[in-house]
Amino acid sequence: MKQTISVLVENQAGVLNRITGLFSRRAFNIDSLAVGVTDDPAISRITIIVDSGNSVVEQVEKQLNKLIEVIKVRTIPEDKMIGRELVLLKVNATNKTRQDIMTICDIMGAKVTDISPTSMTLELSDTPDRIDTFEAMLRPFSILEVARTGMIALQKGGGKI
């Protein structure tokens, strides 16, 4: 089962190394990991997606908590979470196919960020599932490159971790 762990850490050199090192050392598998600074420049938020059972996730949380630079760890339940991922996707596009690609973009709510006589670069921010669908819909046109950020997440409502 995919679970989302949100981790607040000191924004210092080497912290990411400790976190990823911990995952490999303890044989935990990561689906995705996204890092960025928070409203407090001294603190970064790392969002980690793990595909494991509850006991493994509990152990991941505990091991993360042992790292000195980790300030808070919280697993966000799916029904209480807003999760988004950003994708940039470059696809082959000709005069013939451009309109069809635009239709898919319209349906999915994606934007065209760049265009050339032979290609289009598209941008979509959505849940990982919908991004998978978007990618699948574009595959017949021949995708040239994809860059995905991995999901970031916050919990719904006024609370914070």
């Binding site: 190394n17 090192g21 152990q59 505990k62 042992k66 790292l67 000195i68 630079e69 980790v70 300030i71």
Partner: protein
């Protein structure tokens, strides 16, 4: 004041009285600063790994944080095993390494390695100092982290230009406040109540005590709990000595290499109370089965240990000493365990009266241990290496009120001699003994220099079987095809080696002469080596 002086001043303020180290170019400023501070003694090791082991032995008997200091590159990489050994046994240690100039970091210059990166998987924390003014804060935090919660090694890597850099002012933080590090101390009151309830219901309760009890300084509380509630006690290898061997509730060491009676007790108990132990594979060989068959309580300072190897019915997180006090103050029920204790006493008696085999021209290690135990002082420290010597000592050496120190987690050969040197540095008057095999002794015998140099009254008992005994034993069973690559051919005359350092020695190969030899060995006024000849086919299960 420069960074190096700030470092040494910070160590002084932390109460450091001894550093085990090995100098090299990038640590020279710090070593130079040490010259002006007579309160801190310095022991020069012969290889950096042993600086870690000495700091470990020092820490384990003194209760203080051990300190070692080496140079960059190979100095730091040699120390790695010392750090990993301390990490696996949760020993409070601060390791200081010199580093190449900060402005050259990453260029692979002479004696540069990324040591903070290298030790990340087996250190509690590490610092790479990039500003001399941060040194006092870093040292303060490092000692706090190393010694509180679940103790462990912390590394401070200091580039030489930072050691040489000027400090505008020396700012010593009175308090340490790390927002991501707040170890639990007190146990949850509700859980304490649940523990008491579980104890009240048990008919066949058992305490399994580990190294965490020693680390928390909770031996008295543990014994008081066992005696008040009338609960027998087994120990892991790291917990040996928490209860004297002749205590009626003591059931010996549990685990794959443990005492039969301890394992019988573990298999048959209806309530297992694990205190300061991580239920590691060597001690608790079948955690799933235990979980299924009996109620379990797990008391540990590290929440991550709860549920890692074994899921306990009642987890209790906090300082073991504080928790045991809470339990005792809340009133511990007296268990209705008379029949159980009676049964265990029979198991124990059978184990203690067990006959060891005899072989002409050799002594049996178990026999040596039984005889040695009777002659040791009440609070003696025995440092034991890794291999058959470790198992025989842990299983059969009678414990009184002393300590048994060994590398239980990592199983590092060559640990015992340097650890014992650390013990002697902390407590010169305390009777201290090394037990090792001819394999492990050859991994550390260069440290006899420290023994000779200080004229340390250290006794070294060496089991000589001219093979790597435990591997020999493993290879003698399926799926292997017999001992290979383990014969210690070419070993020197160990008596002559000791003699070259000015240390006397004696050799025993006759059990009838054991008593006299052990007495002579222990009564020798200074250091002494006793070589015991052991047959290579001896097994720890004999």
């Amino acid at each position: 004041m420069n960074g190096a002086q700030a470092l040494i001043e910070s160590l002084r303020r932390e109460g450091v009285e001894r550093i085990f180290g090995y100098a090299g170019a990038t640590i020279c400023p710090a070593v130079d600063a040490l010259r002006e501070v007579p309160e801190i003694a310095y022991t020069l090791v012969r290889t950096e790994q042993n600086a870690g082991h000495m700091a470990s032995g020092y820490a384990r008997v003194s209760g203080k944080t051990g300190v070692c200091m080496v140079t960059s590159g190979p100095g730091a990489t040699n120390l790695i095993t010392g750090i990993a050994t301390a990490y696996l046994d949760s020993i409070p240690m601060v390791a200081i390494t010199g580093q190449v100039p900060s402005y050259l970091l990453g260029r692979d210059i002479f004696q540069e390695v990324d040591i903070t990166g290298a030790v990340a998987p087996f250190s509690k924390h590490s610092y790479l100092v990039k500003d001399a003014s941060q040194i006092p804060r870093v040292v303060r935090e490092a000692f706090h982290i190393a010694s509180t919660g679940r103790p462990g090694p912390v590394l401070i890597d200091i580039p030489i230009d930072i050691q040489e850099g000027r400090l505008e002012e020396f700012h010593w933080p009175e308090e340490v406040n790390i927002r991501g590090y707040k170890p639990s101390v007190r146990g949850n009151d509700l859980q304490i109540k649940r523990v008491a309830e579980a104890i009240a219901k048990a008919r066949q309760p058992l305490i399994c005590a580990g190294g965490g009890v020693w680390l928390a300084g909770a031996r008295e509380e543990l014994v008081e709990l066992a005696e008040t509630a009338r609960i027998p006690v087994v120990k892991t290898m790291m917990g040996i000595g928490l209860m004297p061997t002749n205590h009626p509730l003591n059931m010996g060491m549990v685990g794959a290499h443990g005492n039969h009676c301890a394992n019988q007790a573990l298999a048959k108990s209806d309530l297992l109370i694990m205190v300061g132990t991580r239920a590691a594979d060597r001690a608790i060989t079948a955690p799933d089965e235990i979980q299924r068959r009996m109620a379990t309580i797990h008391i540990d300072v590290d929440p991550a240990e709860i549920g890692k190897n074994m899921q306990a019915a009642v987890p209790l997180v906090g300082n073991v000493k504080v928790i045991l006090r809470q339990l005792l103050e809340g009133g511990v029920p007296v268990t209705d365990s008379a029949a159980w204790r009676e049964k265990l006493r029979d198991y124990r008696a059978a184990e203690l009266s067990r006959q060891f085999p005899r072989r002409e021209g050799y002594v049996f290690p178990g026999t040596v241990m039984r005889k040695l135990g009777g002659k040791l002082e009440d609070n003696a420290v025995v440092c034991v290496d890794v291999g058959q010597n470790q198992i025989f000592t842990c299983k059969y050496l009678p414990q009184k009120h002393g300590r048994l120190l060994t590398s239980g987690g990592l199983g590092t050969m060559g640990y015992a001699l340097p650890a014992a040197i650390g013990v002697k540095a902390a407590q010169p008057e305390r009777q201290t003994l090394v037990v090792c095999g001819d394999g492990s002794f050859q991994m550390a015998m260069n440290e006899l220099a420290a023994v000779a140099c200080a004229g340390m009254d250290l006794k070294i008992l060496l089991f000589r079987n001219n093979t790597l005994g435990l591997v020999h034993q493993i290879q003698s069973r399926a799926p292997y095809h017999g001992p290979f690559g383990v014969a210690l051919d070419g070993s020197p005359d160990f008596g002559k080696i000791a003699g070259a350092y000015g240390i006397p020695s004696l050799t025993v190969n006759d059990e009838d002469q054991l008593d006299g030899a052990i007495s002579r060995f222990l009564e020798e006024p200074g250091p002494c080596l006793m070589i015991c000849d052991v047959h290579p086919d001896v097994s720890t299960t004999d």
